[in-house]
């Protein structure tokens, strides 16, 4: 479904992505793990063009692009098929929970407000927040906001959803409810790429795990291969920190 090759990105003198080759098939769930500063989030964000890659080939649904030569229109059109869930939720503060979900349907898909509302309420039910439909983000807890964020990402029936450390900003007791919803999303066979620090979750949900370190993919494979039997030194050190907890 999506294939990128040779993705490079530097911020001034600092090279953050040093040539990433990555591919994901329809329905696949890939987790990206790695230390802070390894470029995981930056890489994820180049996939929906919130960061502009300096170099790279981008192939999506059989269309190929040079990443540093894409037009706004091309990027906009791809963004209608790839949505994102953010670490800090980033809900629209001037819209209610339901409106956050229906916003993209009404504005970008020109759906009638009646149909949009129906879909919105369906999704609110899926994430377990039907009773919060008319509340504003500032009235919701972090976990609730994130669940609305996931519903919002699902609204447009995207080909793929990107998760940028979806639980990293949450209090520990709220992490579980969000992971549960992400698992539900996985069950409906959406293609997902998840940057996360929740190792058990990544092991449990992924078809494939990617370990990034210092701007490159240092190791890649099935969850079993990565978490249990990898011989990569850097990966071993990284996972060692989690084993002690």
């Amino acid at each position: 479904m999506l294939k990128v090759t040779g993705v490079k990105k530097a911020f001034g003198q600092l090279a953050v992505l040093k040539g990433i080759d990555f591919e994901v098939r329809k329905g696949e769930i890939v987790s990206i793990i790695g230390p802070s500063g390894s470029g995981k989030s930056t890489f994820l964000r180049t996939l929906n063009f919130l960061e502009q890659a300096d170099h790279g080939q981008y192939e999506f649904n059989n269309e190929e692009y040079e990443m540093n030569k894409m037009t706004d229109r091309q990027q906009l059109s791809i963004r209608k098929n790839i949505s994102m869930v953010f670490q800090n939720y980033h809900l629209f503060k001037n819209k209610t929970a339901l409106e956050n979900i229906t916003e993209s349907l009404i504005v970008t898909q020109k759906m009638s407000s009646v149909l949009a509302q129906e879909r919105g309420e369906e999704l609110l039910k899926l994430v377990g927040l039907s009773d919060k439909r008319d509340q504003y983000p500032h009235q919701l807890s972090g976990g609730q906001q994130q669940r609305i964020g996931i519903a919002r990402a699902l609204a447009m029936k995207p080909d793929m959803i990107l998760f940028d450390e979806p639980t990293s900003a949450l209090d520990p007791e709220l992490v579980g409810e969000v992971l549960k919803v992400i698992k539900k999303v996985a069950e409906i066979n959406t293609t997902m790429i998840i940057v996360t620090h929740e190792m058990d979750f990544a092991k449990d949900i992924s078809d494939r795990v990617m370990f990034m370190d210092e701007g490159i993919i240092a190791a890649e494979g099935s969850p079993a291969a990565i978490f249990n039997s990898s011989t990569d030194q850097r990966l071993g050190r990284f996972l060692g920190r989690f084993k002690d907890q």
Binding site: N81, M84, H90, K93, N94, Y136, G149, A153
Partner: protein, 224 residues
């Protein structure tokens, strides 16, 4: 006895008050035009075209960086020298034109910082669900940005009201112009100028109250 005639003070108020429509209309029209033009300027300043950005930054810098009186004199007394047809513009319209341009420069800065105050995350989130930059601005950023801009724009308006005081130098018979004539005629300087001062105070207090009211109304349903 103190040389103050309460009678003269009280009599001055309605005399000056008759010129209120001029002062109020200049202030209000200039404010509205200033905010509209200022918003357009702010949005255009976001463009990627370098020369547009530079010209607009120059515009904002000049009109915020020179005294209003100087701007008025250049326009009313100076420009007709270059463009004779401009001599036909009367003091009232000239005042509105200059004050609108002046207000637009201040308003542009206020709106620019207010839009920046809306967190970038919401902007990115809107992009991520396939909205165009235009749609994001109109539906998410501008509504929140304007709410944030209300208090500082209120201050701009209060400055504008006070700024109208110099229009008498163009010959406009606003409250300041009338009070100057009235004081010269009656020799009751202190009473007359105190009266107009109180009237300005009343105007700015009203503007302050309106500002607070607007701020409160727009916050309904949203946190502070």
């Amino acid at each position: 006895m103190v040389n103050f005639e309460l009678d003269a003070f009280i009599k001055a108020l309605p005399v000056i008050g008759r010129a209120l429509p001029i002062t109020v209309s200049v202030a209000m029209v200039s404010m509205i035009l200033g905010v509209v033009i200022g918003t357009l300027i702010t949005l255009m300043r976001r463009s990627n075209i370098k020369w547009i950005k530079s010209i607009l930054e120059l515009y904002v810098s000049f009109f915020r960086g020179t005294p209003l009186m100087v701007q008025m004199f250049i326009f009313f007394f100076g420009l007709p020298q270059l463009i004779p047809v401009l001599a036909k513009v009367n003091a009232y319209y000239a005042s509105i034109i200059v004050m609108s341009i002046n207000a637009s420069a201040y308003a542009s800065e206020v709106i620019r910082s207010s839009l920046n105050a809306v967190d970038k995350g919401q902007y990115e989130a809107a992009l991520s669900v396939g909205m165009s930059k235009y749609q994001v601005m109109v539906r998410i950023i501008l509504p929140q940005g304007f709410r944030i801009a209300i208090p500082p724009l209120g201050n701009t308006f209060i400055s504008l009201i006070q700024g109208t005081a110099i229009t008498f130098m163009l010959g406009l018979q606003d409250i300041m112009g009338v009070s100057k004539m009235s004081a010269a005629a009656s020799y009751r300087f202190f009473e007359t100028y105190l009266a107009v001062g109180l009237i300005y105070w009343m105007l700015t207090s009203l503007a302050s109250w309106l500002n607070s009211y607007l701020e409160k109304q727009l916050s309904y349903g949203l946190e502070a």
